[in-house]
Amino acid sequence: MNRISAIVTKELRLFASDKQQLFFGFLMPLAIIAMMVGAFGGGQPLNITGYVLDMDNSTQSAALIDGLDRIAGINLRVLDATEAAARLERSDIASYLVIPEGFAQGIAAGDVSLEVQRRGNGGSDGQIFSSFAVAVASDLAADAQQHRNVLANLDALGLTYDAAVVSSVLDEFRLAAADQPRVSLVMDSAGERGEGASFFLPGIVAMFALFTVALGSENIVAERKNGTLERLMTTRLSKAELLTGKFLAFGVRTLLQVTLLFAIGWIWFGLFTPSTFAQTLLFSVAVAGAGAAFGLLVSAIARSQEQAVWGSVIITNVSAMLGGSFVAIDPDSIIGKLGRFTLNYHANVGYRAMVGAGVGFESPEVWQSFVILLGAAIVLLLLAIPAFRVRGDA
């Protein structure tokens, strides 16, 4: 037992003094999480710049521009005809909205047309902007239609009226409805807490936990290559003790890494309660076990340090992609089905249930993933143990 703990202590000391491993284990994931949350978090789903050319110069076209300008996430630029055409020609912009002459009359008549000048498909941001323009123009047209409908109703009742009074009464009701709409929207969502971070943090933590431990297998290959492992076998240390020590060292450092990253996530994004944090760490035991077994397997198979490094880089990155670390994948697609064979997928499912939905081991998603990861750890260990060599590849 002392010999095993000596190996674990030595490995952890090496890890703590290895700047590169610390960089890949802690600084890199934090930098990427910051980028991801900066891009996707914060609740503002789009930040597009929309370009408008107003050929009508009417009150109604001004109302359309004002309506677009008030939409959160749209940065509106009004261009003149020469500038708009030149910028599209130069491809400085991919599309712009034209409010054509006669727009105001179109609103009054209930038949509105807009124009979009574009290159290619105008870009997805351009398409989103034009759909917003249609919505705002529809609102303006509907208001005009509403006015006509009220007049038609009064005509149908055979009443004589003052048009100014009709407009004034209608405006009063509109103002009242604006304050207290007849129908109110209720926004609800699955796993709202933490916004983007609840999705990205688990994916990136799991990815880097597995990546760092796999990368650590390079050291075992180096020890085999320079005869360190063989020399250890001349001491009273058995192969079983050596493997156990390496496995535990991998597992403990992964656990430390995951704990620190999630603790930062807790402080930064407020993603946890004490209970979910404790359960997340318990779940991490399975992630660390599976990762450690995977690291041992890579070190057992790799013939050179280069193979260990590139095997780790490619397998962990491909697993992260297939396992949905960065983008949600349709589970019924081929990629989604392949993803189920990766450690990342099961780590992501469990972590996201706990971080995003705030559930614990009572949730089938969590305990099933936990059991699968433990099972994977056992299978990977069973593959690694017979393949592990203490000599060779000099």
Partner: protein
């Protein structure tokens, strides 16, 4: 003297290229790994890159039965909504699908919707979306808002008609008014009918592009910068093990070493770009644009810039580990910031502004213009100039700070 410098630089560059071609791990990282990533991402992201106009599928659910107002709204929208594919689903099925991330979200009419609407009680309309549904969440919200506005508008119309009728007609108009409102203007008779049309006027050709055409240029940019940034580690290693000292001892000048290393980086980057774009063209149906030479010119500017950045990084780092860390960190931050991983418009405006300080952003803008918007080559001269300015800046920094000794 000058010809000697060029000859020495060429020899150093040739040696670096030979080292690259013999280095399996470098080839794996610079050429094969990006293609594996693109192959996977092309499959995963295919539905998001159809290249066609957006056709949003809006899922709606109601807890009411046939003949209800909510069912009438859904039926009306399915028949008339332009640019929207309205699909009705069972509430529990849709909810489960969102939780499992198979569906981004849906609009939900509660069980009391019709009753509340007709009785004058407050009415609620629910939008249930996954928090990470970046595009669908605002789309659902805007459709739901349109429904809510339409209902409110009809209600205002009925209220204003009633108030004006009482004002001008008095009590005796009451029965006629009730019949009129019941006949069509009542709050429950709403349906969404857009009377706004959009005409798209095309400047230049428009074709749908393969998924690789949308994704590969960003990854080419990222991996060229990444690959050449990692050469900083090699250069620092050569300084550490006195290889550079030995070159000086063999009469190579500091200038020829610097030039040789730069040309070596350019050659490595060019080989990498040819392999990636070639594989993209033959394996992934990559479209090189209407003027492929302009696409190659942008790529060359990217290579020149990345090669200089690799040298500049080598001058900052004191150890191989530091060089590797700086290279990885800079590459992995600049790539997403510059739009290699996602379109920049999903980032906040302040991040879009910062992105302009990365060469990646200018490269991606240039590729977008040439590959998606069929722009003429002159449209990317500005971006190429900026990339060359970056290259000159990095090169000048490297020339000023380059050290032979450890």
């Amino acid at each position: 003297m000058r010809s000697t410098m060029w000859r020495q630089a060429a020899l150093i560059a040739t040696k670096d290229v030979r080292v690259l071609l013999a280095d399996k791990s470098a080839i794996m990282f610079m050429m094969i790994f990006p293609l594996i990533l693109v192959a996977i991402l092309s499959t995963v992201m295919a539905p998001a890159y159809t290249g066609q106009d957006l056709q949003m599928e809006i899922v709606m659910v109601t807890h009411e039965g046939a003949g209800s107002i909510s069912q009438g709204i859904i039926d009306g929208m399915r028949e008339t909504a332009a640019k929207l594919a309205v699909v009705q689903a069972l509430p529990e099925v849709a909810h489960q699908a969102v939780e499992e991330r198979r569906l981004s979200g849906y609009i939900e009419f509660p069980a009391s919707f019709s009753q509340d609407l007709l009785s004058g009680a407050p009415v609620e309309l629910f939008v249930f979306a996954h928090p990470e549904a970046q595009t669908m969440k605002p789309a659902l919200e805007s459709v739901a808002q349109a429904i809510a506005s339409e209902i409110t508008r009809k209600w205002v119309e009925a209220q204003a008609t009633a108030a004006l009728a009482m004002r001008y007609g008095g009590e005796e108009i009451h029965e006629q008014l009730a019949a009129l409102l019941a006949g069509g203007t009542a709050a429950g008779s709403t349906s969404h009918n857009s009377n706004v049309s959009v005409e798209f006027i095309q400047v230049g050709p428009a074709e749908s592009k393969s998924v690789a055409t949308h994704m590969l240029p960003g990854y080419v940019t990222m991996f060229i910068f990444f690959g050449l940034a990692l050469t900083a580690e090699v250069l620092v290693g050569e300084r550490q093990n006195q290889t550079l000292d030995r070159l000086i001892a063999s009469r190579a000048s500091r200038g020829s070493i610097l030039l040789g290393k730069y040309l070596g980086n350019v050659a490595r980057g060019t080989i990498q770009a040819i392999v990636l774009l070639g594989a993209g063209y033959f394996l992934f149906n990559l479209d090189l644009g209407y003027t492929p030479w302009a696409t190659f010119a942008v790529t060359l500017a990217v290579v020149l810039c990345a090669a200089a950045l690799g040298l500049a990084m080598a001058t900052i780092a004191k150890t191989r580990q530091a060089a590797s860390a700086i290279a990885v960190l800079a590459s992995m931050v600049m790539a997403p910031l510059g739009g290699c991983w996602w379109p920049v418009w999903i980032m906040p405006f302040w991040m879009q502004t910062i992105a302009k300080f990365t060469p990646h952003a200018w490269a991606n803008i240039a590729y977008s213009k040439l590959l998606y918007f069929a722009s003429p080559p002159s449209a990317v001269f500005g971006e190429i100039a900026v990339l060359l300015l970056f290259a000159a800046g990095f090169g000048a920094f490297a020339a000023a700070k380059f050290r032979i000794e450890q």
